[in-house]
Assembly symmetry: C2
Homo-oligomer: 151 residues x 2
């Protein structure tokens, strides 16, 4: 890898944590960063292969795992339970609302959890580095739609 030109902040974080900046990892990172915040593992696999088919399946999964451990990503379930959707955790956190009918994901920024986080750190004696907040319900369209099936 010699494209030292445009090291994204996340790539730098990788290096600082002592991991090698390999082609596989950088490609996975690139795919994730250009995926609007949500990608399933299969989508990542597909897009990585499309970009460079010499990158193996296993390395993609290994990268996803690594990024999860580094709190760069977080897997979550949207819709089917077969494949996780990975969401980017820009500053260690992510927040969205999932429509349980059409599976649309609506992101939002604000959450006032710093205080709660601080309180939990003392109360539970833990060291918090990030969080994910998900709301579930119906989006406006689905709410107004005559329900096709019971739910």
């Amino acid at each position: 890898m010699d494209r030292h030109l445009s090291l994204s902040p996340r790539a730098q974080r990788l290096r600082e944590a002592g991991y090698k900046l390999t082609s596989a990892r950088l490609t996975v990172l690139h795919v994730i960063e250009t995926s609007g915040g949500h990608v399933t593992s299969s989508e990542v696999l597909e897009r990585v292969t499309a970009l460079d088919d010499s990158i193996g399946r296993a390395s993609v999964f290994r990268a996803l795992d690594l990024f999860t451990r580094l709190s760069i990503l977080r897997p979550t379930y949207i819709g089917t339970s077969a494949t996780p959707t990975y969401v980017l955790m820009p500053d260690g956190h992510h927040h969205h609302m999932i429509c349980i009918s059409c599976n649309r994901v609506i992101e939002f920024e604000d959450c006032e959890l710093d205080e709660l986080a601080a309180e939990l750190e003392t109360r539970l004696k833990v060291h918090i580095t990030g969080h994910l907040l998900e709301f579930y319900g119906l989006c406006d369209d689905c709410y107004n739609q005559p329900r096709p099936s019971k739910l």
Copy 2:
């Protein structure tokens, strides 16, 4: 099914939603309710089979899906990415802290998200029925442990 004796509130909810109270569903429900709030799909499968090996795999997965759609459960990732862990959503919500080193899960009750939920309902024009809040970080033990590997 004729054990109308002890219909758990969740079983009643099932019936009210128009679903049949079948042996498969009630068994899965029972397993979940006696699993301390966290079970992987494989654990559910295993325990259901142990209780009644005439219940098929497929029905277990179908039940897990149904309960998820009804916001009785919510799949999440803890540790490995291969199998989801299902958490019970007692009143439509659940909160916990996951240690990213030892995967211990520490639950906590309070969260002040009602206000935020209400605000989002008007701002995003959605109808919220539940939420999941997860914090990530290190538990005290892991924090004090000499780190075995870089993280």
